[in-house]
């Protein structure tokens, strides 16, 4: 009898109210994911085989035509290449700047840590559209702050050599704070005794960083890399506000191309085919990242 009571009290699911709560939460999540992810993804996949414009109720089966057109569209591949390059540079910059600033804030020498943490995180929580409009003015070739500061006469948004750099600068400035906060959190959770032992053994700051901090932070860095890649593969707001993919097609990113096909040309079937290719690429990259990190852990 005693044993029965003990085993009942140990099993959290034996309580009726907890079972109801569990079932409700799980069912809600399933419904949420069904309604907002799986069903729309399924519809989009089916739509990619159609001439599809929901605004005029058009949904005509066209077989593999959209897929054929996408795969033979040079601009799509060019935009994918741009997206890949953009993502790699943005992720690298985010990690490097994030690590540098997080290490600085982690140091005992820096005072007012909360102030700096807030300051660095502010751009991250500012709406991208608003930020992009402010930066658009900063990039103005005549009145822009950037040219005034640098003493240059660059037409940042219309010169093919600088337009992508302009979008990257804005993105990096906007997002580095996220990496700082996450990495700083990671640093605070590291075992302090390792650092104390290293200090006693005479390791300097640089050796401690590369020998202890960085290896122990690998899961955090990997988390930032994966979430950043997923996020940067979907970048379109700065492109929409700053360049609309121009000059010409120099700053075309895959998601902007998809947005343009769907919401400017109302070619939802074609846009869906593009989305699926991008979706598969992101899934593949994520899987590769997990696999690589798993091997390292072993």
């Amino acid at each position: 009898m005693n044993l029965q009571i003990r085993s009942k009290s140990r099993d959290p699911l034996r309580s009726r109210s907890e079972i109801i709560l569990r079932n409700t939460v799980v069912a809600s999540l399933i419904l949420f994911f069904l309604a907002f992810y799986f069903i729309p993804i399924g519809i989009a996949f089916w739509g990619s085989f159609h001439l599809w414009n929901p605004l005029k109720g058009q949904f005509r089966y066209t077989g593999l035509k959209n897929w054929h057109n996408v795969l033979n569209n040079q601009l799509f591949w060019y935009s994918l290449k741009n997206t890949g390059l953009f993502s790699v540079i943005a992720v690298l910059a985010r990690i490097v700047i994030g690590l540098l600033l997080a290490s600085a804030l982690f140091s005992r020498l820096v005072k007012a840590k909360s102030f700096f943490r807030t300051l660095y995180y502010l751009p991250t929580i500012t709406p991208m559209v608003a930020v992009a409009f402010v930066w658009k003015n900063m990039y103005d070739p005549q009145f822009g702050l950037l040219n005034q500061l640098l003493g240059t006469k660059i037409n940042w948004l219309f010169d093919g050599r600088y337009a992508m750099l302009a979008i990257l600068l804005l993105t990096i400035w906007k997002d580095f704070g996220y990496a700082v906060v996450i990495l700083l959190g990671g640093m605070y959770s590291l075992p302090m005794d390792c650092f104390e032992a290293a200090e006693i053994d005479g390791a300097d700051a640089c050796q401690r960083f590369f020998g202890i901090t960085l290896p122990l932070l690998r899961p955090t860095v990997l988390f930032i890399v994966i979430t950043s890649f997923i996020s940067y593969f979907q970048t379109y707001i700065p492109v929409m506000v700053l360049t609309q993919g121009g000059p010409g097609t120099k700053t075309q990113l895959a998601t902007y191309l998809i947005f343009d096909q769907a919401f400017s040309k109302y070619n939802f079937g074609y846009a869906s085919a593009m989305s699926f290719i991008l979706f598969l690429l992101i899934a593949l990259l994520t899987a590769l990242s997990f696999r690589a990190s798993g091997r390292k852990e072993q």
């Binding site: 929901p54 605004l55 601009l75 070739p141 121009g246 010409g248 097609t249 400017s264 109302y266």
Partner: protein
């Protein structure tokens, strides 16, 4: 006592004013309009109360409020709720709302979204011949003998010039150019550079939006934008000549620079450039945003002194659409509002002036107030020489924009860039129901 008397007098005065206002349209007042007529004494919905929604996009609240106020003053049994949406959102929300029976009964239309809207529109009950008798440009809107919306005004490109810069350069009214060669000479005179050769004032600028200008200037050479089988044609002698001339104005004449401002419209208002080719609505925008910039207008120059096939293309500002899925009683009210709007010269004039468009209503063609707007007045002489290609899908302008930026900013060859844009555009137009109305242009037979 004194206070009571004062109150009584003001009450009586208010009543008299209200009655006067109502009687202007109210029962027994005069029928308005010429061929399309509106009889205010006719009850709507048998005088029974009815409520409808009227959708429009941001920026025109006063205009639509005026329509509603005037209409409900005649028909107090009709309650009209105005629903405003930002322009970009409007085109996704409206077609979806029109799929439902409780969508707006009446709404503002822009012909660039024709393809997404036409399936939801009810035809006007006003006979086509009556519309044609009162308005120009109706023929381009006839579909299977019916009209679903037409134009209340025609908007096109005119050349704006800064009057102070013009005078400072020693130019007079006599110097207003009519050909592109004359224009280039004037642009040179209006250009100012500093001692280091840096541009201080551009004689002319087309930066940031030249696609709208190019897609119209090829008509001056007799070249239509679409082929007989509705394919777009960019890579032809006419478009190549237009773009080469634009390049020469910057690169040979030095009258402007690709990097001297990225938005020539704004830069004109800001006093950076002396001449700017812009559409009608810019007239109001300049007055609102840069009232200190005094400007005039002249008609777009042409390759020779001869009257061209067409000076440029125009785009119509559309009359209201009626939701065919709305309940029958709401549709009847919407039809009545359309008739009221089309018959009402005063309202037509308000809409025309607010958008600086050439009036489509024939009775307003010589209206003094409208002709006082310089950008409209310069069109009057040749208004029949402006062509409407039809409700072009956005792919046309988007692809021309890419071609132009590739040529002007990325150094691409004109022919190659135009061919790429043409091929992409025609691929994107596959499946589109767009049909060019260039063949219905009055001078279509003169096309090359």
């Amino acid at each position: 006592m004194k206070q009571f008397t004062r109150r009584a007098i003001s009450l009586v005065l208010t009543l008299v004013m209200a009655l006067t206002a109502i009687s202007a349209y109210g029962e027994g007042s005069a029928v308005i309009g010429s061929t399309i007529q509106y009889d205010p004494s006719k009850p709507v919905n048998n005088g029974e109360d009815i409520a409808i929604e009227f959708w429009y996009w941001t920026g025109a609240d006063k205009l639509f409020q005026a329509v509603v106020d005037e209409y409900t003053a005649i028909h107090p049994n009709v309650k009209i709720t105005l629903v405003e949406n930002p322009f970009d959102d409007y085109w996704t929300k409206l077609p979806l709302a029109l799929q439902e029976p409780n969508g707006p009964a009446i709404f503002n239309v822009h012909n660039s979204h024709h393809e997404n809207l036409i399936g939801y529109l009810a035809p006007y009950v006003i006979p086509v011949e009556d519309l044609e008798a009162d308005f120009v440009g109706v023929s381009a809107h006839i579909i299977d003998g019916k009209v679903y919306y037409t134009d209340y005004g025609m908007m096109t490109a005119t050349m704006y010039y800064n009057k102070a810069m013009w005078e400072k350069a020693g130019l007079t009214e006599a110097d207003i150019p009519t050909t592109w060669d004359e224009f280039r000479e004037v642009a040179k005179k209006l250009t100012i550079r500093d001692e280091n050769g840096n541009l201080v004032q551009a004689g002319f600028s087309f930066n940031g939006g030249a696609q709208g200008d190019v897609l119209g200037m090829q008509y001056q050479y007799g070249q239509n934008l679409f082929t007989a089988d509705n394919k777009v044609t960019f890579n032809n002698d006419a478009v190549r000549s237009v773009i080469q001339r634009m390049k020469d104005i910057y690169e040979v004449d030095g009258s402007g620079d690709y990097n001297f401002g990225n938005n020539s419209g704004d830069n004109f208002g800001q006093g950076m450039i002396a001449m700017y080719l812009g559409w009608g609505f810019m007239h109001g925008l300049f007055q609102a945003l840069w009232p200190e910039t005094e400007f005039g207008s002249f008609e777009i120059p042409t390759p020779t002194k001869d009257v061209p096939y067409a000076y440029h293309r125009y785009n119509g500002e559309s009359t209201f659409g009626i939701n065919k899925n709305a309940p029958a009683d709401q549709q009847a009210v919407a039809q009545d509002i359309v008739r009221f709007f089309l018959a009402n010269d005063a309202l037509q004039k308000q809409f025309v002036l607010a958008n600086s468009v050439f009036p489509a209503k024939k009775t307003l063609a010589a209206d003094t107030d409208i002709m006082n707007v310089s950008s409209i007045a310069v069109l009057a002489k040749h208004i029949d020489r402006y062509i409407w290609p039809g409700p072009m899908p956005s792919a046309v302008e988007n692809n021309m924009k890419i071609a132009i930026e590739d040529i002007f900013y990325n150094g691409a060859d004109i022919g190659t860039a135009l061919k790429n844009a043409e091929d992409t555009c025609n691929m994107e137009l596959e499946g589109s129901e767009f049909e060019s109305v260039e063949p219905s242009y009055a001078h279509a037979s003169e096309a090359k």
